[in-house]
Each structure stands twice: as structure tokens, then as C-alpha cells.
């Protein structure tokens, strides 16, 4: 709408004669002075070139803690999947058990005995060590097998930190590809465990993790926050006792372990395998990890000792050739000297 500007006297008087009579001041302005105003219009600054070509960055329509996901996040199974992925990424040592109809009361008993044994193992480790105070972080929990299998695939085969680099290099902003304000789950910026990209990374049929055959039937996992053979040994003595290395606690030492509820529950547990630092071990392998004395430090000491022995052996071998040469020559020299002496003596005897 054009702005309202007082028009010439004659025109305004013609439109409304009463108004003109009431405002004599307006009537005194000459019409020639208002000519420039007749062509004026309200001026708003023109949009800059940048504003015309580039849209403002989209406002995220979701909280930063809840990015759009491939599966509906409000389902329990989505949240379990997230939880299992995070568990698999964070735990370096994990034992997989099959539980065959273990009752709730038996679970309680097993967990009680396990916690007691782990606390006892904690007490043997000196303060300040990496393995100290682990008992509270060791959990024995039942997992949903199918969701756990899927989470294992994501944890093993989806590495967003590697994919991120390629995504940033390929995404050049052009006028044709203005980012949409509505969240799009296919955006490569989303790299959480429930994202579309995580799902796509696991869809390759050729991928088959070594633990996949174990992912059937009822599963329970025992997770450790650190690779601690001392704690593993304590746990195996309770959950999977075997005679030479992992004896079960005796009735006198630990009467609670021999309660019928605990005992019948333990009979129904089967140790299927273990995952240590991303590597898969069977039952015997899990026991072997439990037998490493002194944990990782112990293993390092063993290696250093072995290498020292190896070095000493090598120097011995290298030295031996020169040594034997030296001994041979020395022997020959003494022999010759002896012969000379002997000859001299003989000469002396003859002359005498």
C-alpha cells in the first residue's frame, strides 16, 4: 500500500472538504513542495547476494542427545541395542554363558557368591594398580540374544571415526543441495549406534563374526571393565570350576557356595566362550587367560625375561666361535711351549 501523503489542497478539499477546513496548517503547504513525496515509497534494504543464494543453516529440530535414528528410539529393543553396543565397545574381557532355566532364586545365590569371591580377589591386589577395585564393575547379566547379536555386528563392523573423514571430503555444499531443516536419518553426520549408517554397515552378508554361532539360545554375559586374570580366576572358580587350576571353594571355607540353590543353579550354566580384547576364545582359552599370573604386568615380565634369556643365548652363540678359536690356538701354543720346554729339559738332561 502506498504511504499516505497529504495531497494538494484542491484534491483533498474535493475528497473531504470538512477535514481541510479543520487543518489550516496543512492547507498552507504549497503543492509544488510535495511533488517529490508523491513518488516516495517505504524503503527496506535489499537482500544481499549471500542471502539470496545461500539459505541460513537449518535449525536442528531435535535435542542433541536424541539424534534421528534408524529404528524407533522409544522401543525397548532399540534402547537395549544401544546399551549392548556400548557394553561391547567398553568391555575388554567378557565371558559368554548359556543359562538353562536358571530360577530367580538361583540367580540371586550365584550373584551373591560371585560378588563375594570378586571382593576377596580385590583385596589381594595392591592399591594403585589398574586392576584394583574392579569388583563393583564386574556384572553378570542376561542378554537378549538376537539384539546382542545385532549389537555385536555394530560394535565390530561400524567404525564411524573412519567413515567420518570420507563423508566430510565428499560433502561439498552447492546451491542445488541445500540441507533440509527436517532431520534426515541418512545424513552421514549421524554416527550413533542406532543410526542408518550403523545399520547399513552390518548389512553385508559376508561379514560373519567368530562369536556369531554362539548367538542362539539363552545367553548371559559376565563383563569385566579391565583384563584382570586375578578376577577372572576368582569368577571361574565360582561359575565354572575345574580341578587343577580353578578348584571350587571347599565346604569349610565357603559354606554358602554349597547351598542347594546356588549349586543347582551353577549346574545349569555352560561356559560357551570368551571375548578378550576383541579376540574370541573358547572355554579352554578363557581358562588360559585366567591362569596368567600377575595379569598384564606378569605377562610383560615373562616376555622381558624370555627376551633377556634369548639375548644371553645369542651372545653366547656368537662368542663361542671366537672363544673356541682362542682356546684352540691357546691350547696349541701351550702345547708348543710345553714341547719346547720338554725339548730344553731333555737337552739339559743330556748335557748333564
Amino acid at each position: 500500500m502506498p504511504p499516505r501523503i497529504p495531497l494538494g489542497l484542491r484534491q483533498s478539499a474535493a475528497v473531504c472538504p470538512g477535514a481541510a477546513a479543520r487543518t489550516p496548517a496543512a492547507a498552507t503547504i504549497p503543492a509544488a513542495a510535495l511533488i517529490h513525496a508523491r513518488h516516495a515509497s517505504a524503503v527496506t534494504p535489499a537482500a544481499s547476494h549471500e542471502q539470496m543464494t545461500v539459505s541460513p543453516p537449518p535449525i536442528a529440530r531435535y535435542p542433541t542427545t536424541q539424534p534421528p535414528s534408524h529404528k524407533p528410539p522409544e522401543f525397548r529393543k532399540s534402547q537395549l541395542h544401544r546399551q549392548y553396543t556400548s557394553l561391547l565397545r567398553s568391555t575388554p574381557l567378557m565371558l559368554l554363558f548359556q543359562h538353562n532355566n536358571v530360577k530367580a532364586s538361583e540367580w540371586t545365590g550365584i550373584r551373591r557368591e560371585l560378588a563375594a569371591a570378586l571382593r576377596k580377589a580385590d583385596a589381594t591386589i595392591p592399591e594403585g594398580s589398574a586392576d584394583a577395585d574392579l569388583a563393583s564393575g564386574i556384572k553378570f547379566q542376561i542378554v537378549q540374544t538376537g539384539i546382542f547379536a545385532s549389537a555385536l555386528q555394530v560394535a565390530e563392523y561400524f567404525h564411524p571415526e573412519q567413515q567420518q573423514q570420507s563423508a566430510t571430503s565428499s560433502s561439498t555444499t552447492s546451491a542445488a543441495n541445500i540441507p533440509n531443516a527436517t532431520p534426515d536419518p541418512t545424513d552421514p553426520a549421524y554416527t550413533h549406534a542406532l543410526s542408518r549408517h550403523a545399520w547399513e554397515a552390518t548389512q553385508n552378508n559376508k561379514l560373519s563374526h567368530a562369536l556369531t554361532p554362539l548367538m542362539s539360545g539363552p545367553l548371559a554375559v559376565l563383563t569385566f571393565p579391565n583384563v584382570s586374570p586375578v578376577h577372572l580366576k576368582a569368577a571361574l572358580e565360582i561359575l565354572w570350576p575345574s580341578k587343577p587350576n580353578f578348584p571350587a571353594p571347599t565346604r569349610r571355607v565357603n559354606p554358602g557356595y554349597h547351598e542347594p540353590a546356588v549349586h543347582s543353579g551353577l549346574q545349569k550354566l555352560l561356559l560357551l566362550g570368551a571375548r578378550v580384547e576383541g579376540k574370541v576364545f573358547d572355554e579352554a582359552g578363557a581358562k588360559w587367560v585366567g591362569t596368567i599370573g600377575g595379569g598384564l604386568d606378569g605377562l610383560r615380565n615373562q616376555l622381558v625375561y624370555m627376551l633377556q634369556g634369548f639375548g644371553a643365548g645369542l651372545t653366547n652363540t656368537l662368542e663361542s666361535a671366537s672363544k673356541s678359536l682362542y682356546f684352540t690356538i691357546e691350547g696349541r701354543r701351550t702345547m708348543l711351549e710345553d714341547e719346547e720346554k720338554g725339548g730344553e729339559k731333555k737337552d739339559g738332561e743330556e748335557s748333564a
Partner: protein, 96 residues
């Protein structure tokens, strides 16, 4: 699955073999008090083992059953066990 008439279960399997699934699921189908009513013997083979998984059962009437877990799925095994168990059930009912 009718497990009342089973007295003895012995299994042998390598958990890392995909075919061992049948054996493991059979074990999970046994009731919570199975250890009190029957003898259960499980042998876990090492991971590299190529041995076939095996499941052998004994019933109250003395019949021994060797089931091929590699060929029969868990459904087939349940069917075989139930076929014999139903017969024993009927006999028990008739005898009073």
C-alpha cells in the same frame, strides 16, 4: 516337550559350530529341576574340533535314543522325543 520319561541325557558339542545350536536349545528346553530327575552329562568340545555334535537319551522303559542333531532341527528332535514319551504316557494311564 514331555520330559517326564527321560532319565539320562548326554550331549557332546562344539559351541562354535553352527550345527551345535540344536543341542544347546535342547538343553535349554529341559525343566529347571531336570538335574534332580535325570542325569545330564554335557561335554564341550574345543573350538577347532570337527566332531559332530551328538545327543543320546534314555527313557524310563529303557529305550535308548541316538539323535542326529546335525540333520534334525530342534523341532525334529522334540517330535522324536514326544512320539516315544506320548506312548509311555498312554501306557502309564492304562496301567493306572
Amino acid at each position: 516337550m514331555i520330559t517326564r520319561f527321560i532319565t539320562d541325557v548326554s550331549t557332546k558339542f562344539n559351541p562354535f559350530a553352527p550345527r551345535s545350536k540344536t543341542c544347546r536349545i535342547f538343553l535349554s528346553l529341559l525343566p529347571p529341576n531336570a538335574r534332580q530327575t535325570m542325569k545330564i552329562n554335557t561335554v564341550l568340545l574345543p573350538r577347532e574340533s570337527r566332531d559332530r555334535s551328538a545327543l543320546s537319551l534314555k527313557f524310563k522303559d529303557g529305550k535308548a535314543m541316538e539323535l542326529d542333531t546335525e540333520k534334525l532341527g530342534i523341532k525334529g528332535i522334540v517330535e522324536e522325543v514326544d512320539r516315544h514319551s506320548r506312548m509311555l504316557d498312554r501306557q502309564e494311564e492304562l496301567n493306572g
